[in-house]
Amino acid sequence: MSGLLSRVDRMPHAVLPLGGGFALLLLALAPWPSPLLHALFDVFPLVFLCAFAMRAPGSFPAYATFLMGLLYDALSGHFLGVTALSWLLADLLLRGRRLFFPGESFGRSWRAFALALFVAGLLQWALFGLLARHPGDLLPFALRLLFGALLFPPMAGLAERLQDGRE
């Protein structure tokens, strides 16, 4: 009986990462009434998956990152694969890095995240420009970096708490 209750107790820890990621993806594409709100919600999925890749990689597999990117492309009308590729690259970059620097300070994690966010954003921007044959706007790119950097601490905290719950 206690085993069953324990399993039920752990269920949210297993479901929340994938369900939460999907919910944030849908919120990112919702028709927010202001461009600033839109820019804020737009960065949530990437911050979420980066935070999980660094702090709780077992909770959010790489294929989920790929699927999220693919769905983002499909729903936003972007070229298929562009967001999937850039998010996957950021995810794998951070996932791999975690193996070499276990137990590093939060400040270093934050800087590594900002770098991954920049690389992913730059790749997305370059690929879009290449396929659309015109450069994308740079202001949303800068806003995404800013909001992403600000959102990382709470998201990383959530990921760590979920990871602790799983162990």
Partner: protein
């Protein structure tokens, strides 16, 4: 240790395989854009109910913002509306009289309407921006009679056009998008041109014969040139006329759109009966 290494290599292989699939998809866009669009819309159709549900907080935020805005200006607006109503009552009587007269004159001329317009309302359930194009997903698709290239209006004017159609949903390219083009006329100047999206907020007017004739504040409407879009739909005002180009201030507000109207337009070209066509005079005829 060996198991851990194997596990790592499996994860790395999965990552590399996913990157290869993503690269394949990017190439798929380049070499088969029509199939890529069909796949996009199939996925959008499948996820439309979830997207629609997730749009509720954004809708609530929009309504709260609108309520806040409205509260501040309610009194002024009430006063203005009363004045407008008095004026409009007078105009309504004039319009009714003119409509009767117009019908009578059209009957005398055996005039045919150049186009049949009908409208279809749809809800906006997703928006994309972020510097990579400006489009919206709406809750109307092929099953509702939506077709590619149909014009889309908000309550103020032209907001975009349909670029992709799924069974239940359609994607609309807004007039802010870099790839948006629309043949327009500057009403007061009688000049035709092409409205061109910039990716920013102010679209530009290009390919105008006499730019000097255009002044800020003039009204811009659709020209109907080419027969794809109906003529006379309100688009916006001329904002600035500068040596670098003419910028427009569109009436539509893509940021605040919740409901849009899709214009179903059929150009009513009179069919000519070959037997009834006038016979050209013979060169031998006296």
């Amino acid at each position: 240790m060996q198991t851990r290494r194997n596990l790592l290599s499996t994860k790395q292989a999965t990552g590399l395989a996913l990157i290869a699939v993503a690269l394949g998809l990017v190439a798929f866009n380049m070499f088969a854009p029509v199939s890529a669009a069909a796949l996009r819309m199939a996925l959008a159709d499948f996820l439309a109910p979830a997207v629609d549900f997730a749009a509720l907080p954004a809708k609530a935020a929009g309504q709260a913002q609108a309520a806040w805005r409205d509260r501040a200006r309610l009194q002024d607006e009430n006063e203005r509306l009363r004045r407008d109503l008095a004026v409009l009552k007078g105009w309504a009587q004039t319009a009714q009289r003119l409509e009767v007269e117009n019908r009578r004159l059209k009957g005398l001329l055996q005039y045919r309407n150049p186009a049949e317009l009908s409208f279809l309302s749809a809800r906006v359930i997703a928006k994309s921006g972020g510097g990579f194009g400006d489009s919206m997903l709406v809750t109307a698709g092929a099953r509702d009679g939506v077709e590619k290239d149909m014009v889309v209006l908000d309550e103020n004017g032209v907001a975009g056009r349909v670029i992709e159609v799924g069974g239940w949903t359609a994607r609309i390219l807004t007039l802010r998008d870099f790839d948006f083009r629309l043949p327009v006329t500057v009403e007061e100047a009688g000049q035709r041109g092409i409205l061109s999206g910039t990716g920013g907020k102010a679209p530009r007017l290009k390919h105008v014969a006499q730019e000097g004739a255009i002044k800020p504040g003039m009204h811009v409407i659709t020209s109907g040139q080419g027969g794809i879009f109906p003529a006379g739909l309100p688009v916006g005002l001329v904002k600035d006329v500068e040596p670098e180009g003419i910028t427009l201030a569109p009436h539509a507000r893509p940021d605040r759109m919740e409901i849009v109207r899709i214009v179903r337009y059929k150009l009513d070209v009179p069919k000519q009966d070959p037997a009834a066509a006038p016979v050209p005079p013979s060169p031998d005829a006296p």
